[in-house]
């Protein structure tokens, strides 16, 4: 089947190239049949990619080690769930996933626009075909996921244990869906520029795709943070690591894009800016994929050195040069249709929010690439750490949250200061009340930045609440509906607006969690023996006993050996038990002794978290297996050639020895206030984005041709 997979990719590459040629020819010559054929070629690419992906997936499920990729990234003892997901833990597999998701997305958008945007769509097809062809070329030319081994090994290396975490396994496809999704608005922007149709049509056609991409990218970033928090054993969720930054940058620019396209839709302004933003977003998405795979920057997440760095750089360079050249050549067509009427208007604040978001992205980019920059300038590789990022990003984040609150209350074109005050006094009062309450009741004043953030969060939530209230009462006075009905109809008829407000509230809640957990976290690292206790944040923690289990990790990672601890935690009469673990995976290194192999492979922390709305209590353990060293060495010599079942007995005996006579173990305990609100806020934001992306009743109506005869007055009276 490997041959069939390779053939699928080769034919897909040719088909994608055909799609590019046919749609450009069709658009230039005006022969629609070629455009249709080009569009269908993209559908074929999608079908071929899905087939290739299915073949690879089946090989992983069968544990067919004649596939180099399966031998590298899976093993018979890898749990089934992780066999399915191990496909994209490998470089070749993740390229295939990229290409598959891209072709599916492209097919969906081309199908939906098959009867509209006749000038733009062929060029968009060509752009999407080019991007797909690039990824297919990488696989066909350099990183074929269907490479086979002449002599299949009896057992595979297994999935990297660090990746055996549910969040981590769905994180890549979700992140990729986000990256890929942005290629759709990018393709249509390029198409619009090429076809010289620079109105807002391409935005209307692809706005929803941009929003969906944004949602996926954001969800992917959140899942990555969750993985970091629960799997990496350090207790944080964001480390300003290059790979984390790489996913955040396109998200920030994408956020700016989603806001500024509204200005183009409503006022015909910012056309150059919008085209540049979407090109930048897509370039950053490519860069994100490249950074994870290239290893040019020191990162804890850079999985292995890559052989395709140069190809990526060339393609990114072409994308940047091509889109910049195109935008410059179309500058005369991209003139604004309107002027900024007033600095006190929604469009002015959107522009400000854009500047902050893009500024944030530039700062993060500077910090991320600083090692390369400093090497180029001073000759030595130097890096900036998280403190630098925190110092620069914190003020920008505060401004951003403030704008999140002010933006929604402003009207388009102009607002008088008096009108502004009328809508702002309640949120400002909420802000001040929060400030007074926090100063009087808590020690939040220890961290001025966090205090400011708490107040701004109250402001934003008050704004969103007030918007809903005012909208609902306005509707009630107009229609006389009941409260719940008015609220439902109001939000239902203005999904984009109120979904957007919900996103704002979610982001504010998220920042509440970030501000609280970063400034008021209490952490202790101790090394204690069973029976001993320590205290953190008023919690008294007692190490009750050590545990040692074979093949019994309850979280389903398939780890052969788990050493752990049982701890009693008490605070104010409350009592709970925590069971953090550390999993040990067998090493494949043949130079190690038969018994050492079981302990010298990868080891990962399975932390125990007691989630709470006000405070998380987080615990990781690091057992000292150094105390078993002497016995392990001895066993290595005695049982050098013993069969598997004897080895299992020896390992069981060693584990039992650890359990019954445990040496001191190292613990890290963290009491982190309100950290759970990061995830809740993220979920609220995703919900809001879904509401905003849901087709509105009016958009569904638009597809009905009978609407053509509808009249302005009649339709307005329905609102």
């Amino acid at each position: 089947m490997a041959g069939v997979g390779s053939a699928c990719l080769a034919v897909a590459l040719l088909t994608a190239l055909y799609a590019v040629g046919a749609s450009i020819y069709g658009a230039r010559s005006g022969r629609r049949e070629w455009v249709t054929s080009g569009r269908r070629a993209i559908y074929c690419v999608a079908a071929l990619c899905v087939a290739a992906f299915a073949i690879l997936e089946a090989a992983f499920l069968r544990s067919d080690f004649s596939y180099a990729l399966v031998a590298e990234g899976s093993s018979t003892d890898t749990p089934t769930f992780y066999k399915v997901t191990a496909v994209w833990a490998t470089q070749d597999g993740s390229l295939l996933l990229w290409a598959t998701l891209l072709s599916l997305f492209a097919s969906a958008v081309l199908f939906l626009t098959r009867r509209s945007l006749r000038d733009i769509a062929p060029y968009a097809t060509a752009v999407l075909g080019t991007v797909a062809a690039f990824f297919l070329l990488l696989m066909v030319g350099w990183e074929n996921p269907f490479d086979t081994l002449a002599v299949p090994p009896p057992e595979g290396a297994g999935l990297n244990p660090l990746l055996r975490h549910p969040a981590m396994m769905i994180h890549p496809p979700i992140l990729y869906t986000g990256y890929v999704g942005f290629s759709v608005p990018f393709a249509f922007a390029i198409g619009a520029l090429v076809a010289r149709r620079t109105g807002a049509d391409w935005i209307r056609a692809t706005r929803r795709f941009a929003l969906i991409a944004w949602t996926f990218l954001g969800t992917g970033i959140m899942l990555g943070a969750l993985w970091s928090y629960t799997e990496l054993g350090w207790g944080g969720y964001w480390a300003w690591d290059p790979v984390e930054n790489a996913s955040l940058m396109p998200w920030l620019v994408g956020t700016a894009f989603l806001h500024s396209i509204m200005v183009q839709e409503k006022r015909g302004m910012l056309k150059v800016w919008n085209a540049s933003l979407i090109c930048a977003t897509f370039t950053l998405a490519l860069l994100g994929t490249f950074l994870v795979r290239s290893g040019i920057l020191e990162s804890i997440h850079a999985f292995g050195a890559s052989t395709i760095g140069v190809q990526f750089l060339v393609f990114i360079g072409l994308v940047i040069a091509g889109s910049a050249g195109l935008i410059i050549s179309r500058l005369p067509l991209l003139r604004s249709e309107a002027r900024l009427d007033s600095l006190l208007s929604r469009e002015a604040f959107f522009l400000l929010n854009n500047l902050v978001l893009v500024g944030l992205c530039l700062v993060i980019m500077w910090g991320t690439f600083f090692p390369l920059i400093s090497e180029a300038i001073t000759g030595t590789e130097a890096s900036v750490g998280p403190p630098w990022f925190n110092r620069i990003v914190t003020p920008l984040a505060l401004v951003l949250v403030l704008l999140t609150g002010v933006g929604p209350v402003l009207a388009w074109r102009r607002v008088t200061p008096a009108a502004l005050w009328r809508v702002l006094w309640v949120p400002v009062a909420a802000l001040l009340l929060t400030l007074i309450a926090l100063l009087a009741l808590t020690d939040a004043s220890d961290s001025p930045a966090s205090l400011a953030m708490f107040c701004l969060v109250a402001f934003v939530i008050a704004v969103v609440g007030q918007e809903l209230w005012r909208g609902t009462s306005a509707r009630r006075t107009m229609t006389g509906e009941s409260w719940p009905r008015a609220l439902r109809r109001l939000t239902g008829r203005n999904r984009r607006r109120y979904g957007g407000y919900l996103v704002h509230a979610g982001i504010a809640v998220l920042f509440l969690g970030v501000a609280a957990s970063s400034a008021f976290l209490d952490q202790r690292d101790v090394r204690i023996s069973p029976g001993e206790s320590f205290e953190v944040n008023g919690y008294e923690v007692t190490y009750r006993e050590a545990t040692a289990k074979l093949g019994g990790d309850s979280s389903g990672t398939g780890a052969p050996i788990s050493f752990g601890a049982v701890l009693d935690v008490r605070k104010d009469g409350e009592h709970f038990v925590m069971r953090p673990l550390r999993n040990y995976y067998t090493s494949g290194d043949p130079s190690l002794g038969t018994i050492s192999r079981f302990f010298e492979g990868e080891a990962t922390s399975e932390v125990d978290v007691r989630w709470g709305l006000t405070r998380d209590f987080w615990m990781a353990v690091r057992p000292d297996i150094g105390s078993l060293d002497a016995q392990i060495r001895e066993a290595d010599e005695k049982f050098a050639d013993s069969p598997g079942d004897v080895q299992a007995l020896i390992v069981a005996a060693l584990a039992e020895r650890y359990r019954s006579d445990p040496p001191p173990a190292a613990f890290r305990a963290i009491a982190s206030p309100l950290v759970v609100w990061i995830w809740i806020g993220g979920a609220i934001a995703v919900l809001g984005a879904l509401i905003a992306a849901w087709p509105s009743p009016e958009a569904r109506l638009r597809r009905v041709r009978s609407l053509y005869s509808a009249r302005l007055g009649r339709e307005l009276s329905r609102a």
């Binding site: 080769a10 388009w412 005012r470």
Partner: protein, 99 residues
């Protein structure tokens, strides 16, 4: 071998699928249709702007005078779009609209 056969079969299938639209007689291209779709989209956007402005006014985000001015401009623009739509569809305005 397996690769070569698969390559040929897949290429043949894809080639057949892609040549179907080419073998069909080129459909009469209606230039107007594109323009029509664009105007429809512009009209919808304009309606949404009018409703948005009205909602903003009701919620006190836009003073009465400001709203009147904005609303008048928007309605004038919307009417212009409707005129163009009518011209394109070869119809004359019916009653109720031409005030």
């Amino acid at each position: 071998m397996e690769y070569a056969i698969a390559l040929l079969v897949l290429a043949a299938v894809v080639g057949a699928v892609l040549s179907i639209p080419l073998r069909r007689r080129g459909e009469e291209e209606r230039r107007d249709e594109t323009r029509l779709a664009e105007l429809e989209a512009a009209k919808e956007a304009k309606y949404r702007e009018i409703r948005d402005a009205e909602l903003d006014h009701q919620m006190g985000k836009l003073s009465r005078d400001d709203w009147r001015a904005v609303d008048r401009d928007l309605r004038a623009e919307a009417i212009e779009i409707l005129r163009q739509l009518d011209r394109l569809e070869g119809r004359t305005p019916d009653g109720g609209m031409d005030r």
